[in-house]
């Protein structure tokens, strides 16, 4: 009798232990499967959201070219179909990565999409579309977070191979890890002339030309007119091959402490403010007047660059200074087509430089990162598309994650 009882107790204990163990094992398998299913759903959501953003222009249709806030969000170029993205709508997205800039003379904070010294794109927060608005418009607010990256497919990097007499610039064109050999290069080379005296506006000369990259994606451009290192210049290069178009730019300035900074003021009227850099970076005194001379270049349909002269009435030349009593200047972009605003400036008889600003994000192939920070998220699904932004090839990459917990256990 005792033996049977012990047998019963041992068998029952072992049975219950085994049962609990197997319930745990099965449960773990089921949990993993559910988790995978949820991840799969996020991936589908990422694909859908990316297509929704890229295949709709939003509403109002031309919201990128106005000061209106969109009531429906989309980035498609309203003049095209398929995956063609508006360069102006992208310009109105508030950058996630750039350090915001405060300009006391307007009292506004500016979204900073600047790509380095001399290549500015500053959009006032009042005109830029922020992430929470977009998240609400696309229906992800509170349920999903996302980050959208617009990255140029073609990288055109320019460096000085020889600094003077003659100036030789090395240009390297590459795609996603593969050089673009045999690519046609169209370039615009601007040099600043400061020889007219300290009080005059800086003059500039433009030189347009074409070249080809070699097997390794390199090309060397020689400018025999640059005989000294104190010559300020800018080179803008468009590279294209079989539908792929990329943009590169490079400047050398002789005054990198005091310079002009363009800030977008109004999209609808295409008004741009010209500020003194001391007003933004809080240097000085003493006051240091800068004179400037602005021009605008367009990329034409045959991939050549064309200068679009600005009228004096739109603010072609002017002078700006730092501090109170010295207001900013304004200029008006002469066209609604994308292009590059080029501002030559002079600090003194032998110091000056060139500042570039894209009008339409693609003109200088700026990279945009928009959305929320994905650091520390449990599972991030990504999807990519090749898109065209005003003929320039970009890769649109969307990262999406859930803002709700996934863990089945302890949920």
């Amino acid at each position: 009798m005792t033996g049977a009882t012990i047998d019963h107790l041992v068998s029952l204990t072992v049975f219950l232990a085994a049962l609990l163990l197997f319930i745990g094992l099965f449960n773990q398998t089921i949990q993993t499967a559910i988790l995978y299913q949820q991840h799969r759903y996020i991936a589908s959501k990422a694909t859908d959201l990316l297509d929704n953003i890229l295949l709709s222009p939003g509403y109002p249709t031309y919201w990128g070219m106005t000061n209106d806030a969109p009531t429906s969000f989309g980035l498609q170029d309203p003049e095209f179909t398929q995956y063609r993205v508006s360069p102006f709508s992208l310009m109105r997205l508030r950058s996630l990565t750039g350090e915001p800039v405060v300009y006391p003379k307007t009292g506004l904070t500016y979204s900073n999409i600047t790509m380095g010294f001399g290549d500015f794109l500053l959009v006032p927060y009042t005109e830029a579309v922020n992430y929470s608005t977009v998240a609400t418009l696309v229906g992800t607010n509170g349920s999903y977070g996302f980050q959208l990256n617009m990255i140029p497919v073609v990288t055109v990097s320019i460096s000085e191979y020889q600094s003077k007499n003659p100036l030789i610039l090395a240009i390297n064109v590459s795609g996603k890890g593969f050089p673009l050999s045999g690519a046609i290069l169209s370039y615009c080379f601007l040099t600043v002339s400061l020889t007219e005296g300290e009080q005059s506006y800086p003059a500039y000369t433009t030189q347009f030309g074409n070249a080809y990259t070699d097997d390794k994606g390199f090309a060397f451009l020689q400018f025999s007119g640059v005989k000294d290192e104190d010559v300020s210049y800018a080179l803008i290069v468009y590279a294209h091959l079989s539908g792929l178009v990329g943009v590169g730019y490079h400047q050398r300035v002789t005054s990198d402490k005091q310079y002009v900074i363009p800030l977008i003021d109004d999209f609808a009227t295409r008004r741009v403010l010209i500020a003194h850099s001391y007003d933004i970076h809080y240097f000085g005194p003493p006051n240091a007047e800068l004179s400037y001379n602005a021009t605008f270049v367009l990329l034409t349909e045959d991939f050549t660059l064309r200068e679009l002269p600005m009228e004096n009435s739109t603010g072609k030349v002017g002078k700006v200074n730092y501090g109170e009593g010295f207001p900013y200047d304004t200029i008006t972009i002469p066209t609604t087509n994308p292009g590059i605003l080029i501002i030559t400036y002079r600090k003194s008889a032998n110091e000056g430089g060139i500042i570039l600003m894209p009008w339409g994000i693609s003109s200088m192939a700026f990279t945009i990162t928009f959305g929320d920070n994905m650091f520390g998220r449990e599972w991030v699904a990504t999807d990519i598309r090749e898109v065209i932004v005003n003929d320039v090839a970009y890769q649109a990459k969307l990262a999406l994650w859930s803002l709700q917990s996934y863990q089945v256990t302890g949920r």
């Binding site: 085994a18 309203p78 795609g175 079989s242 539908g243 609604t336």
Partner: protein, 433 residues
């Protein structure tokens, strides 16, 4: 002891069940859970390569053409490094058995791996021409006659850079395929004839009633001598414009003003040899804003009252094509600039004053003004006005009229055989789990 053995047997059975279940419960690799949509990536890559028709041109070239190397380089450069591809071009055949025949293939890998996706893209040869046959306005109803004022004895104003005759010629080329009869009104005498309900050509299709009349003289309007001069001279010929409005109503015309302030001057070189429009153009007399007010009174069959008030505004911002106009830009293949400067935009108050509705907006209304639209009177007659700044763009006139009448385009049939190729881009993902 027996129970313990039985339990051990049960444990073995459950273990077996778990192992068997685990064999069937194969969880996918992370890459399969959250994949890059290779099919979409392939499609968008093909579209990028064809953005300037480079792909379309290359696929019709022999496989040893240099541009195939460019396509290879562009493909490798545009795709992420871990993506391999195979691009195959097929001829489209007409045979009953085989529809496609591969003509060329390029790839950057011997194998695309186990998981691939492909997209297809149909390209047409650049040598192919497509034709269409437009439906004629009036073909299935009344009207169908287009009168273009090409008066040799009248001058234009605010058509800087053009002559009325040149504009008339361009409008003829652009619009005559859409009308049953397109008649050039060669002088003010002929204009007087159609105002008197007489035809002026031998065309059997010419009908005065329900016609469209385009005034190519800009802000000026030709005036015939005789009845219209005698009875229309009141108030610096504002009364003539009133009669003109009455005729538009009487014959259910669509009167078209291509630029500027409509009917601001009257012109006849024989009638006004010594008069000028205050800007030095002889053969012309200024009516002023009363011209348009009088016309609208006549169109609405109101009592004639001299009204010299301006009813237009100079808009500070650009005006943009309406969504409907943009749609018809694509439909008819007419592409004027989608934004314009409007310094003579008409106030919306005329809609109620003169019982007009707007079936067609060429430009979006802005600030209570309309820069371009077709206004239709509640009873009869219509008026297309483009209150834009000079110089005129007659494509906008054509777009407005086509948008208003909406003639259909019958595309000609064409076969894909020999003129089209099918391009398949297959992508595979290398590395990773």
């Amino acid at each position: 002891m027996m129970r313990t053995i039985e339990i051990l047997l049960v444990i073995i059975i459950i273990t077996g069940a778990f192992i068997i279940a685990s064999l069937f419960t194969v969880l996918p690799y992370p890459r399969q859970v959250s994949p890059i949509d290779l099919r979409r990536l392939a499609l968008t890559t093909l579209q990028s390569l064809d953005v300037d028709h480079d792909l379309s041109e290359t696929v019709f070239k022999p496989s040893d053409a240099a541009s195939w190397t460019d396509i290879k380089i562009a493909l490798s450069a545009s795709l992420p490094p871990n993506i391999v591809y195979n691009l195959t071009v097929y001829d489209v055949l007409s045979g009953n058995t085989q529809l496609y025949n591969a003509t060329n293939s390029i790839s950057n890998a011997a194998s695309l791996g186990v998981s691939t996706a492909a997209s297809s893209y149909l390209v047409a040869s650049s040598n192919v021409t497509f034709s269409f046959t437009p439906e004629k306005i009036g073909e299935h109803g009344s009207g169908g006659t287009l009168y273009i004022l090409n008066c040799s004895d009248a001058y234009g104003w605010w058509i800087t850079g053009y002559t009325a005759q040149k504009l008339a010629e361009d409008l003829y080329n652009l619009l005559s395929p859409y009308f049953q009869a397109t008649i050039m009104v060669q002088n003010t005498t002929q204009l007087g004839n159609i105002l008197d309900n007489n035809t002026i050509s031998s065309s059997p299709y010419e009908k005065v009633a329900n016609a469209v009349v385009i005034n190519t003289n800009g802000e000026a309007v030709p005036i015939p001598s005789g009845y219209y001069t005698v009875n229309g001279s009141q108030d610096s010929y504002a009364k003539y414009n009133y009669i003109l409005g009455q005729r538009v109503r009487q014959y259910n015309w669509t009167w078209v003003s291509i630029v500027g302030y409509p009917l601001y001057y009257v012109s006849n070189t024989a009638l006004f040899p010594n008069d000028q429009n205050t800007w030095g153009i002889y053969g012309m007399q200024q009516v002023g804003p009363a011209g348009l007010n009088s016309f609208l009174q006549g169109l609405d069959n109101q009592q004639y009252v001299y009204n010299p008030n301006w009813i237009t505004a100079d808009l500070s911002d650009s005006v943009y094509l309406s969504p409907e106009a943009i749609y018809y830009c694509n439909y008819y293949g007419i592409y004027p600039s989608y934004y314009q400067t409007a310094s003579r935009a008409l106030t919306t108050s005329i809609l109620t004053t003169y019982h007009l509705d707007v079936p067609t907006y060429i430009f979006n209304p802005a600030e209570g003004y309309i820069a371009g639209a077709v206004y239709r009177n509640a009873v009869s007659g219509a008026f297309l006005a483009l209150g834009l700044t000079r110089t005129p763009d007659i494509r906008l006139t054509a777009l407005g009229l086509l948008d208003y009448y909406k003639p259909r385009l019958y595309r000609s049939d064409y076969t894909t055989v020999g003129t089209s190729k099918l391009v398949i881009l297959q992508l595979g993902q290398m590395g990773g789990m």
